[in-house]
Amino acid sequence: MKKNFSVSTALWTLTIKEIRRFLRIWVQTLVPPAVTMSLYFVIFGSLIGPRIGSMDGFDYIQFMIPGLIMLSVITNSYNNVVSSFYSVKFQKSIEELLISPMPNWVILLGFVLGGVARGILIGCIVFCVSLIFYPDFTVANPPLTILVLVLTAVLFSLMGFINAVFADSFDDISIIPTFILTPLIYLGGVFYSINILPDMWRNISMANPMLYVVNTFREGMLGVSDVSIYFALGMIFSFIGILTGSCLYLLNKGTGIRQ
């Protein structure tokens, strides 16, 4: 009487469902980052950039490109998972997942892969937009760039998942991105090198985790960084490990999803 359960089919189904979800609403998910980043490139890159001069030896617009790509990847991978998982809770379609034989790690991985797919897609879109404004851009270290892109998308998808687990209302899914994530990203070296800051603010900036993500990516794309790459990669891997453990603990315990 025993029936076989295919984990790979279940994971594939959930991942495709998640990807289909953000592609279906592409006007809300894919177009806005392209428009916003175009404005950044026009205003800060083409209009104000030449007056700023160079930053760490690069044209300002060139220096900004990795930061803006990271900004888009972080916010989109986070928002994808937090809004999708919270919607699933809100619509009660989480019951479809809980009743099914899918192990908790498959549920987590499916949502994270959805977030990663959107983050990477947005990253590629923003990179393509940047080439319109700076066609000569070349990537210094493609393997490191791709590695950091994927790790960042994973890291912030996991954060979005935890936010969604604890969220009880739509307000709860916008508080952290608006009041914590966005300020940390903007102050994490997207638009400037921390070397231009006074000592005190530079030291304070070193405590901002976004700084490591943005600078590791900048190392991959431009070959320059304000921080140690090995230390930064170690931090990213550690955070992914801690957050994965936390997500699985919350799912196993049923926090926010089981009565």
Binding site: K3, A10, T13, L98, I99, S100, P101, M102, R258, Q259
Partner: protein
């Protein structure tokens, strides 16, 4: 005979101290059509929630086809289909995608799921609606979709939590026929419902839960057999001004054309017809005063 479901000393206390289940135990035979009844807040949905992994139990055992849900939850879940009380699918997806995706969650590939979905949709009258967005469906079709979703992985045990709540009589009857058919084909069914007529029509065995405890767990025939008095409603041919007096048959006039009789189990209703005829009272039609199960149910949960 093997049990499709075996529950032992199941307890659930919610945060805040509400004790929803106070150690219930019951078993459902394989192939059975079982009714789990109880008033609102009795513990039915908590029980179903625990079986379906939607609610975390405080203590106790749940076995599905002898598989302990604590030990091998994956195998147990493959055997189980649950139709929840509330709509629980994404309203913005196409009807067919919802069910194919649900099959995927059970490890069933799209190519394997599509023929099954076609068969279930045709049986439930959903085939014409397969490409519409779920949010555009009427309440009745949404219920059908819930059932289709629960059946796509061909569960051996199907639990329906008030599946016909809010659907019209025609659809309810259609669903009864469908459920009888899948039960006949070997699927064990557990049903909770507020329509006691539904339970009486469909189910062979019955459990009544009240205040977190099982107050009855028996065969439907045995339970109904325990009724001593049956009420009948007579629609009269011509109006009466007062209820006639007939020895051994208490009669009550509901309105000038409706007479209600209480007939003891050891008396023949033919005798009552004869007496009415002697008094020149003509009966046009007759029906049960109320659902028999309803009387017992009210009696049991009052205790």
């Amino acid at each position: 005979m093997a049990f499709a479901l075996e529950i032992t000393d199941l307890k659930k206390t919610y945060p805040g101290g509400v004790e929803a289940l106070k150690g219930i135990s019951f078993a459902v035979n394989e192939g059975d059509f079982y009714a789990l009844l109880g008033p609102n807040g009795a513990g039915k949905s908590s029980t179903i929630g625990i079986i379906g992994s939607l609610v975390t139990k405080s203590s106790g055992k749940v076995k599905i086809f002898d598989i302990d849900t604590d030990g091998n939850n994956e195998q147990a879940k493959m055997m189980l289909g649950v139709v929840s009380q509330e709509i629980n699918f994404s309203q913005f997806e196409k009807v067919i995608d919802i069910v194919v995706t649900q099959a995927g969650f059970y490890g069933i590939s799209k190519s394997e799921a599509l023929p099954r979905v076609e068969s279930i949709f045709k049986r439930l009258g959903l085939w014409d609606k397969k490409d519409v967005q779920a949010r555009t469906l009427s309440g009745g079709y949404k219920r059908r979709l819930m059932i289709a979703k629960a059946l796509v992985h061909e569960p051996k045990l199907l639990i329906l939590d008030e599946p016909t709540a809010g659907v019209d009589i025609e659809l309810r009857r259609e669903m009864w026929t469908f459920l009888k058919e899948i039960n006949k084909n070997g699927t064990t069914i557990i049903l909770t419902t507020h329509y006691l007529e539904e339970a009486e029509q469909l189910c062979r065995n019955i459990g009544i839960i009240d205040g977190g405890k099982i107050v009855a767990n028996t065969g439907m025939k045995d339970l109904l057999g325990s009724l001593n008095v049956q009420g009948y409603v007579f629609d009269l041919d011509s109006p009466l001004s007062e209820a006639p007096e007939i020895e051994g048959f208490p009669l009550k006039l509901e309105d000038p054309l409706t007479l209600i009789a209480a007939v003891n189990k050891d008396r023949s209703i033919n005798a009552l017809f004869e007496k009415l005829s002697e008094k020149g009272i003509k009966v046009k039609s007759m029906r049960n005063e109320s659902n028999r199960l309803e009387e017992l149910f009210i009696e049991m949960v009052k205790k």
